[in-house]
Symmetry: none
Subunit: 139 residues, 4 copies
DNA sequence: GTGGTCTAGACCACT
DNA sequence: GTGGTCTAGACCACC
């Protein structure tokens, strides 16, 4: 399992870790009950501060994506609840809108954006409307 | 012309202003050569510090979206060059990918995302592949 | 006599006028005792505020480049003294140095800069070491 | 590494910092990946406000000259792209032309200007036509 | 009137 | 520790 981190990016390191774990789960690279590297392992491998990895793991646990078994390590969870805070949904819409605005200023056509989107969905498991089976709808 | 700012958002105030101006340009709410409110005016209207507005305006000018006439004010530019830095394009793709991942964790279907996307493109001028006429392709 | 002004430039309008007058003198486009347009004429022609033109003329007069005959108008002076304030010389060196630094960051070679320099000197009168005859050395 | 600032100059403090950093990079005084003094450090050393230093650093980062690692500091970039906006090139030409005009009014000969120019190029790395190796041509 | 610069001082997020 | 953001208030040049 390899993480690709860009230390120069404006998105925080711990955030990049979170995003990559979530993305790998969606792509099926990480499967339920699979063990994640320890904080120390990962921080050594990525040459970053252990606190940064720790912060990422804590946030992932808070979101229910992963869970830790004392003395055994941290693992990918099954049955991740779909939590849909309306505030977060609004943020997503905003993010998409902004992305489109920027894309247009960059000269990218709607078709190009749609192509990207299709690519991403194809990369992910259960590329139907439903998402992966491990997602359990609690709404 | 009204700006809607969320002071509790994690995105900086000046960034929100930038985004709104760009969006209004794309929607045709702001037209080329139209005058923007003065720094003092807008800061008073939004109840924020003039420096914050100024910073937003300067960044917009740097991006070629607006320009200032000394002692007269700031205006929307015509012929905005489509500036496509490969690094920025990568950021956009990343932003889109992340948005999709988050959407799936929120239980949103691909179809819902596509609906949002269509909405946004319809709101904007020249909602075909080409973008508004004021965008001048320099590639 | 035509002035080319860029209202979007970051150099002040009155400064641009000053520069152009000086340049025209150097090129011989404006000759000693030649009459300049009145403030009102020039401001109307350039579609700018008369105060701006007035400010430029005042500064040019202060530098001895032009002089006004009451009721007759303003004229190019003969015998412009070469005033060489060490502080201004330092500014020129600084300006040249900065220009070279920026040119290198823009990928321009030394040879290209030298070509520009030769062009400019050829455009001017008395392109020898001495400058135009109207320059009277008072040092 | 020492910065020399003239608080009485008409060029802004933050601009002077920018110019000095660029110049030091060109002279090889600052090398790729070298750490710059922190904002607080430099502001204390120069006895100016931290915000002023910060503004300079941000502009330098925008130009690709430096980059920041979150929580670690700011560093000189390698592989600075040669960014040649035609508008900026025009400004450089204008700056050179104006400098020459002023020099002639100050009684300086073409030969003196050429001597300055040679000096500056000799001070810089790779004083041939090519510029320093760290400049990466993207044209 | 306009925007641009600078200061002083505060708060925050990230490493 | 680092840089980033924001505020309040001042001064300046330009038009």
């Amino acid at each position: 399992m390899f993480f690709q981190i860009d230390p120069r990016s404006n998105t925080p390191l711990y955030e990049q870790i979170i995003q990559q774990v979530k993305e790998m789960c969606m792509k099926g690279v990480l499967k339920p009950d699979e063990k994640l590297p320890s904080v120390r392992e990962l921080s050594a491998q990525m040459v970053i501060n252990p606190n940064t990895v720790s912060k990422a793991y804590q946030e992932l646990e808070r979101q229910g994506i992963i869970h830790t078994l004392r003395g055994r390590g941290t693992f990918i969870s099954q049955d991740v609840p779909t939590y849909s805070d309306p505030r977060r949904i609004q943020e997503m819409k905003q993010s998409l809108k902004q992305m489109i605005v920027d894309a247009r200023y960059a000269g990218l056509s709607k078709q190009e954006i749609l192509t990207w989107l299709e690519e991403f969905y194809e990369e992910m498991e259960g590329n139907s409307d439903e998402g992966p089976a491990s997602l359990k709808d609690h709404s």
